[in-house]
Symmetry: C2
Subunit: 389 residues, 2 copies
C-alpha cells in the first residue's frame, strides 16, 4: 500500500486501541445492545371513543337521512348517470354529514372485484438496495390504475398461495427470484391472473416482464472488450440465482467470441464482502486482470473499495463494472459504470400486462411477455487497460 492511501480500518493503531479501552468495545462484532434494552412505557389518553358505541354508518343510514332508498345512495355516490342532480346532491350531503364511506367488504362480495393486487417478494428482498427500486414503481403504477397493493413476503409456497386464492386480490405480481418456487405454477392452476416481474426466461406459459440481463451483460462486456481489455475477471453470484446465471451468459457470449480475452471467474456471494474478497484474491495475484465485471453493483462497490485501498487506480489501472445501478452507484465517490434497468418502465409494463388479464373475457386474447433492454450507464470506472496487449 502506498503512503497516504486510505487507511484500512481493520489495521490497528495505538490510538484506536486506546479508544477501545475507554469504550470497552470489541472490534468485531460491534457491541450492539451496549446500553441495554430498557423500554420506557408511557400511558396516554387515547382518542375518545364515544361511550354510546357509534356504529359505522352504512348506505342504509345515508338513505334514511337523505330520504331515498338504499340503492339510490349507491347509484348516486357511484356517479351513475341516471340519478337526478337534486337527488345526487342530497345524498352526497347526507353522506358527508354522516361521514359515510362505502364499505369495501360489501362492494367486493357483490362485485367480485377487489381492486387489489398482491406483490410477492422474497422475505428480505426489500432490504436489498435494488428491489425497492422495482417494488416502489410497481406500487405507484398500481395506485395510478386504482389498485391497492398487498405485500406478501414469500415464506413457504402454501402461505402465499392461500393468500392469493381466497379472492382477496384480483391478481398477483411475482417479483421473488427464488428459482424452485411452485407459486407461479399454482397461480396458473388456480386461474389467478399473474405476471412474473424481473425474471428473464418466460417460464412456460407465464406472462413475464423482465429486463434482459443477458443483453445488458453482453453490452457491458462489449464495451470492456472494445476498450482493449484482454485480461478480464468475472465476479458472479451463486449458481442458483437465475439473474447471476443470465448475466454470466451475457458476459461470456461476448468474451468467448473469438477475441483473445482471457477470462477468470470467481463465484461467491452477492454482497459487498464478496466483492472485497474477490478483489483481494484477484489483485493479490501475480497476474492481475485489467477489468473486473461484477454480477451486481454491491459486489462492484466492494471490488472498488478494495482496489482503492491497495492504491490501484480505477479506471487508470483497472476497470470495474457493476449491474443494477443502485443509488450508491451514482454517488460521487463511486461513479460506477454499470447497467441500468428502467424499473419504472418495467413496473408500468408489468401492471399493464396484469390488468389486461382482468378484463371481462380475455380468454381469446393472447397474453404477452415483455423483455426490456438494459442500458449502459457510463460513469467513471471504465477505461482502456494501462498497456493494451
Amino acid at each position: 500500500m502506498k503512503a497516504g492511501a486510505v487507511k484500512p480500518p481493520a489495521k490497528p493503531c495505538p490510538r484506536r486501541d486506546w479508544t477501545r479501552l475507554i469504550i470497552g468495545a470489541p472490534r468485531v462484532p460491534p457491541p450492539l445492545r451496549l446500553l441495554g434494552r430498557r423500554a420506557t412505557v408511557i400511558r396516554i389518553r387515547m382518542h375518545a371513543k364515544g361511550p354510546p358505541m357509534t356504529r359505522v354508518p352504512t348506505s342504509k343510514d345515508v338513505a334514511k337521512a337523505a330520504g331515498v332508498s338504499q340503492p339510490t345512495v349507491s347509484r348516486a355516490l357511484a356517479g351513475h348517470p341516471q340519478v337526478s342532480a337534486a337527488t345526487r346532491e342530497r345524498v352526497r350531503k347526507a353522506a358527508l354529514e354522516l361521514g359515510y364511506v362505502p364499505q369495501e367488504s360489501g362492494r367486493v362480495l357483490r362485485s367480485r372485484r377487489t381492486r387489489r393486487i398482491a406483490v410477492v417478494c422474497g422475505p428480505d428482498d426489500l432490504l436489498s438496495p435494488f428491489r425497492p427500486q422495482l417494488v416502489v414503481p410497481l406500487h405507484q403504477a398500481l395506485a395510478a390504475a386504482g389498485y391497492r397493493t398487498t405485500l406478501i413476503a414469500e415464506s413457504g409456497d402454501a402461505a402465499v398461495l392461500s393468500q392469493v386464492t381466497d379472492g382477496s386480490v384480483d391478481g398477483v405480481l411475482v417479483t421473488a427470484a427464488r428459482a424452485g418456487s411452485a407459486v407461479p405454477g399454482q397461480l396458473a392452476a388456480h386461474g389467478v391472473p399473474h405476471v412474473l416481474v424481473d425474471r428473464l426466461v418466460p417460464e412456460a406459459g407465464h406472462p413475464t416482464c423482465a429486463a434482459d440481463n443477458r443483453q445488458g451483460a453482453a453490452e457491458i462486456a462489449t464495451l470492456v472488450a472494445g476498450l482493449g481489455h484482454r485480461e478480464v475477471a468475472l465476479v458472479l453470484g451463486p449458481r442458483r440465482l437465475r439473474t447471476s446465471l443470465d448475466r454470466e451468459a451475457g458476459f461470456r457470449s461476448v468474451l468467448a467470441a473469438g477475441r483473445a480475452v482471457r477470462t477468470r471467474v470467481l463465484r461467491g456471494g452477492v454482497d459487498h464482502a464478496a466483492g472485497v474478497a474477490a478483489a483481494r484474491s484477484l489483485l493479490g495475484a501475480a497476474h492481475r486482470p485489467t477489468a473486473i465485471l461484477c454480477a451486481n453493483d454491491t459486489i462492484a462497490l466492494g471490488v472498488l473499495h478494495e482496489a482503492r485501498l491497495r492504491g490501484v487506480d480505477v479506471p487508470g489501472e483497472l476497470t470495474v463494472t457493476g449491474f443494477d445501478d443502485i443509488p450508491m452507484a451514482g454517488w460521487e465517490p463511486y461513479a460506477l459504470t454499470t447497467v441500468r434497468h428502467d424499473t419504472g418502465r418495467m413496473a408500468a409494463e408489468a401492471v399493464r400486462l396484469l390488468l389486461s388479464q382482468l378484463g371481462p373475457d380475455v380468454d381469446g386474447a393472447a397474453p404477452e411477455s415483455v423483455v426490456l433492454r438494459a442500458d449502459l450507464v457510463l460513469r467513471q470506472t471504465h477505461a482502456p487497460p494501462p498497456s493494451p496487449s
Copy 2:
C-alpha cells in the same frame, strides 16, 4: 492531497477523457437510455382457462360434495370443536378435492374483521436505506400475528383516508414522517385503530412506538465529548424533519451543557451529497472541527468519503458519527460509529400496541406508547482528538 490517495473521480485525466471520447459519454449526468428503449414483445401461450368456465368453488359446493349442510363446512374447516371427527374429515377431503379456499370477502363481510393492517409510508420512503429496515420487520410481525399488510404510500391525505376508513383494514401503522400530515388526526376522528411508528413525540392522544432520537443523539454526543473533543460540528437535515430536530436537540443537550465545546452547525439535505458538501466546507476551513456528528448515516458516509479523499485520517484526526445504522454503515470500508434503533423490537412493539386495540372491547384499557432506547454502535470512526485542547 497526498500522492497515492484515492483519486477523486471528478478530477479529469487524459486517459479518462479519451474514454469519454470513445463512448461519447458526458460526465454528468450519466447517459442513461443510451441504447434506446426498444421493447421486445413475445407472445406466449397462457395457462389454459377451461372453456367450460369453471366457477370458483364455494362452501356450498363442498357441502354438496361432502353430503353435509353448508354451515357445517364452515365449522369443520374453521376447526370448530363441536364437529365430529368423521364429518370433519369428510369435509376436509371434499374441500381438498374441489380446491376450495374460503373466500375472504364473505368472511370479512360477516365477521367484520379483515385481518389486514395498512402500513402507511411516504411516497419514496422505501427507496431510502433506512425505512425498509422498519417496514420489513413490521410486515413480518404482522404476518406472524396472522395479519396481512396493505402498503399505502402517502400521496394526499384524502387518498390515504379513504383507503383506511372503508373497512378494508383492521388498523393502521403510520410510519410516514411528514410533519403536517392530517392522517393521524383523521384516523382518530374515524375511530380507526392506529399506531404511529418511529415518531418520538406522542402526538396528542396517538399511541406511538418510536426510538428515542434525542437520547441516542445525547449518547453519542456524550461519547464524543468524553473522548475530549472540543471542536465539534453538527451536520443536520432540514428543520421540517422532526427526526433531525430531535437529534439536534440531543446533540445540543450534551454539547451545550457547560463543557467548553465549540459547536458549529451545518444544515442541508439528508443525502450523501449533503455530507460531501458539508465536509468540504468544514475541512476546507482554517479551523477544522475534530469531530463531525451527522443526522444520519448517509450524510456521515458522505463526510467520511470527503475526509478520506483529502487524506484526513479517520478516526486519527477526525471523528465522524452517523445515525440509523444502515447496512452500509457496517461495511468494512466504512465501519461507521453510529446509533442503532432496534427496528425489530420497534416493529414488534408497534404491532403489539396496534393489535391490543383490536380486542372485543378495549375502551377501558389505557392505550400505551412505547419509547425505545437507541444504542450506540461503536465501530472505527471515533477516537480522541489529535491534540486535546
